[in-house]
Amino acid sequence: MMDLDDTDRAILRSLQKDGSLNAAAVAKRVGLSQPACWRRIRKLEDSGVISGRSIRLNQEALGFGVTVFLGIKLATRGRVSVEDFERAVIAIPEVQVVQHVLGLYDYRLKVVARDIADFERVLRRRIMTLPGAGAVDSNVLLSEETSPLLL
């Protein structure tokens, strides 16, 4: 894992605040030349510190009014291939997040849907039919706030 110095952290803080900044804008904020800043951003990306970029869309405006988090327990350990379950769940377009977890559940999913009826359709047709899916616990998201990672 790459060692981060104070300048790297300053770059990450700027981009964490506004991911649309280009290398020139970040350079100005952290007091670097543009090429030097560009090289550092490139290095942060290549080494996986910056693991991805994304466009933040207005979910409601695009008709996705419901977000549900699911906890799933596998029903028959050993008899069903974990790989089959994982491959199938990852392929569902409405499922944005799949985490393998340790605790009361085996997997944690984030599902987006147009409304509760649409969520029910996804749950019945896609989730409950997954190979090996056992108990499912659903929690409908009401509010969410995130804070930047500590740098």
Binding site: R53, L57, L141, L142, S147, L150
Partner: protein, 153 residues
């Protein structure tokens, strides 16, 4: 809100899958001229459909090896349990996500720690001290198999 047509959706799909693509690359893939593609993106931004751009940082790269989802049920006999709880949770820097739910769980906190000893320390001294907790269950992250915010447009 302005209507979003099929071309807008196509453009948004392309942008979601390749956030770093240039306007001319997007235009070519969507079958638009660069100028009209640029105008559409501009309009989607002004209308608040595109809210911004984000980078994702790997917490492990910052030295956070442990990530735990704490699912909390609150003691709702206190009328302001939610507000008081969330106000206190905001003060803990290792919490990077606070979500409220309709379901069996009331609140979920995402907690980052350097290692298990650090987590244990936060858990005992800060998290268990949060007000109005009726029940806590923890899910420890083993691996992220999929992590995207791509909408199935």
């Amino acid at each position: 809100m302005q209507d979003i047509d099929d071309t807008d959706r196509k453009l948004l799909r392309l942008m979601q899958h390749d956030p770093a693509a240039s306007t001319s690359q997007l235009a070519a893939q969507a079958g638009l001229t660069t100028a009209s593609c640029w105008r559409r993106i501009e309009r989607l931004e002004t209308a608040g459909v595109i809210l911004g751009r984000d980078i994702r940082i790997d917490p492990k790269a910052l030295g956070y090896e442990v990530e735990v989802s704490l699912r909390i049920t609150l003691d709702k006999t206190h009328s302001n349990a939610f507000d008081v709880f969330i106000a206190e949770a905001r003060k803990i820097p290792e919490i990077n996500e606070i979500q409220t739910f309709l379901g069996r769980v009331d609140v979920r906190l995402n907690v980052l720690a350097r290692d298990m000893a650090h987590y244990q320390d936060i858990y005992r001294t800060r998290l268990l001290a949060l007000p109005h907790i009726a029940d806590i269950e923890a899910l420890m992250l083993i691996s992220n198999l999929k992590n995207s915010d791509i909408l199935p447009l």
